[in-house]
């Protein structure tokens, strides 16, 4: 059962990629295909990050702890879209002009922030396997994977810093991020004080 729903979810997550491929095949990537592909992959990176962050609250609120089984796939899709987003910039926009890109990373704060968001996802993608959970031990692994909070925050700031004047969409993602983090804060505050237990 889980296996089939995983296959289904996998295909669902591929829909944006198919959509982009379909439009590319029909030369329907707007008048500025480079921008379109860059923005499309960037949008989906943030969306997958938010969806991944939504798994924990949904588990609690719906009382469906099994949902955690789908979290790794969602997170890896965020990483996949992030890599596609970076590739679009490297290949389509800058065409391997490493010097100019390096200067951009240093000089343009929104690019610095975007790089940070993606870089933070790298250790998470690498240690996403069951083997790595075992190797690190669950506690350590969990602590490491809290990096996604910072990655998502950086991604939202990256988006906010790059728009010209219409900030509605970055604000929307900021709002979603805030709600998802507030859920965690509330859960954390409600837990019996662990430290006190340890001391006694």
């Amino acid at each position: 059962m889980v296996r089939w729903t995983k296959v289904l979810l996998f295909l669902l997550c591929l829909c944006p990629a198919f959509w982009l491929g379909w439009r590319a095949l029909h030369s329907d990537l707007t008048a500025d295909p480079v921008s379109y592909v860059t923005h499309f992959t960037g949008d989906w990176t943030i969306r997958f990050l938010m969806i991944t962050l939504a798994v924990t609250p949904l588990r609690g609120l719906l009382n469906q702890p099994a949902l955690v089984r789908y979290r790794r796939m969602l997170g890896l899709f965020a990483f996949f879209c992030g890599c596609a987003h970076l590739s679009a910039w490297v290949v389509l926009d800058k065409f391997f002009d490493w010097r100019e890109m390096w200067q951009d990373v240093l000089k343009r704060r929104f690019i610095t922030m975007g790089m940070l968001a993606l870089t933070l996802m790298v250790p998470l993608a690498i240690t996403s396997t069951a083997g790595w959970v075992r190797r690190l031990g669950f506690r350590k692994w969990q602590r490491l994977h809290r990096l996604i909070y910072f990655s998502a925050a950086a991604a939202v700031i990256h988006y906010y810093w790059l728009v010209k004047s219409d900030i509605r969409e970055p604000l929307l993602y900021f709002g979603i991020f805030l709600v998802l983090m507030m859920y965690r804060a509330v859960v954390w505050l409600r837990k019996p004080a662990r430290k006190a237990v340890h001391v006694s």
């Binding site: 500025d32 921008s35 926009d93 100019e100 343009r108 704060r109 004047s165 219409d166 509605r168």
Partner: protein
Amino acid sequence: MIIRKAPQFRYSDVTPRDVYVNRRRFLAAALAAPAALAFAETKLSNVQKSSLSTDEKVSPPNIVTQFNNFYEFGTGKEDPAHNAGNFKTVPWAIHVEGEVAKPKTFDLDAIMKLAPLEQRIYRHRCVEGWSIVVPWVGYSLNVMLKQVEPTSKARFVAFESYWDTKQMPLATPFRTGLQYPYVEGLRLDEAMHPLTMLSVGIYDEVMPNQNGAPVRLTVPWKYGFKSIKSIVKIKLVEKQPPTTWNLMNAHEYGFYSNVNPEVDHPRWSQASERRLGEIGRRKTLMFNGYGDQVASLYTGLDLKKNY
């Protein structure tokens, strides 16, 4: 045996006559783009070629008419082509007033006949880093300005776009981050420069709504947002007038906004640009390649400070 009922209507009953008599043109336009429908019937006649034109390859119409920054009709590049279809451009008038001896209102008919229409192929560089080559139709703005006789006090020209929330429900500060109506300005000598155009069409057709119908400004050596669309008011003034993008963020968008590869936008480089329809990037030219004609306007001016 197939027994078919006669259809209740003939196709001609439900199809406007001008559509079926111009079927081929209609189909071609419909295939090109839905928004191009109105465009197909509106050829401008007696358009003269201009020596001010560049010989660079003209951008395809489907790019120029489907990729627009016209925030009154949405902030997405494809929004204006979708949303501006029903924009009413008749009747239309431009009020020219302020520091002038003869304030005057030009209705659309007068605007179209003020001077012989010229086709001028200009490079157009957006502050966002993309560019196109557009065959504008119109004439030098100075033709209109001379008619109202600016007084000695007139040092700047302030422009204002049409704005009403019924026709432009998206044109709100909340939805776009900008204040309305959209306003722009030039120094009087910039406005009087022969390159500065009042444009009423592109590709020898009347101006499509999404490109700033019925009449807009074209200032080829400045970033695109200086070329204000759908103008309803021109005021000659003594002091430098406010401009929309400068009001939004003075740090990023200056009053001059001359195309300048050496002065970066705070958030991105202006050294190169993407010519839409081409692969790769090309170097951005000083004053968008119009330095020979306009550089003298700015002698002694620090272009890094006056960006």
